[in-house]
Amino acid sequence: MSISAETLKNSNSSYLSQGFKAVWPICIGYIPLGIAMGVLGQKAMLTPLQVLAMSLMVFAGSGQFIAVSMISAGAFIPSIIATVFMINLRHLLMSSSLCVYMKKVSPVKLTLLSYGIVDETFAVNIEKLKKGNWGPRRAIAVNFFAYFSWALSTFTGCYFGEFIPEGSFGIDYALTAMFICLLIFQLNGSIYFITAVISGIVAVFLAMTLEGNSYIVISSIIAASIGVIIKKRKNYNEQ
């Protein structure tokens, strides 16, 4: 082995080990969540391969939970896609925040990096990037360790999901519990709390009056728009 090749190998293993050190708690945390997601997928009549394909191709925890719940509810494809698009809109902002630290990075690395941007990997990478001594290779390693941990957990959950009877252990409540957890992390300020409450009230009202799942998108847009109006008025009054 030439010196340069050996150096390159050591360098790559260093990136991988540093990436793993940064992301392993998230990988562990993904196991129960991924298994819960896989079980829900199985209850929605998805096969383990379909769940694995979804995890490998979409890799978005909340987006996948939502897609699976809407598939099981018999929602139309455009409605599911629109909801996944909206729930993952935040990834646009996350990746644009990461971009500040990715100047002069090749398009290939940017593509690889973008493949694994989710809430958790973003949180790890942005913290490391802000501190310095962190680059695209380590960030990509973080993303892909989390990616494979998630995919494997969901596949396992779906594979063994058929052995878990319907409604047992309250596993069907895992989806609601997961959404509540994600919601709490989103409420960074009174304005977001208010808009979420408005959204919930409008959603309950619309769910009783509208057919299908269209109430999800409609109530979200109404509440977020009201949030913009409230914020603008608050800023105006403060001036």
Binding site: V58, A60, H91, T111, I201
Partner: protein, 100 residues
């Protein structure tokens, strides 16, 4: 359309929209507004979506579903531990089904 084809199309389209957002943010970062109405709207959207998804379900899940929701929220807020919070919510529902 078969169920398998529908699931496949859903997965494919979900992947396409998700990656276009992730890659779009990296490629168009300088053109996205980082303040103003767009930013407020975007920040508020995930929370509103999540609550609009679960609110009708919680409203129809009865007393124990509501208690489990509150306990899950409090546990998440106090500990920041998703796994513990999920176990709390799921555990309350499981126990209520067993004993009530």
């Amino acid at each position: 359309m078969t169920d398998n084809l529908m699931v496949f199309i859903t997965i494919l389209c979900s992947a396409a929209v998700t990656y276009s957002l992730r890659l779009g943010g990296l490629l168009l970062s300088e053109k996205l507004p980082s303040s103003g109405k767009f930013k407020i709207f975007m920040d508020a959207l995930p929370g509103t979506l999540l609550l609009s998804l679960i609110a009708p379900g919680i409203a129809s899940s009865g007393l124990w579903g509501g208690i489990a929701a509150i306990c899950t929220a409090v546990c998440t807020y106090r500990t920041g531990n998703v796994f513990l919070a999920m176990i709390t919510g799921v555990g309350i529902v499981a126990l209520s089904r067993y004993f009530c």
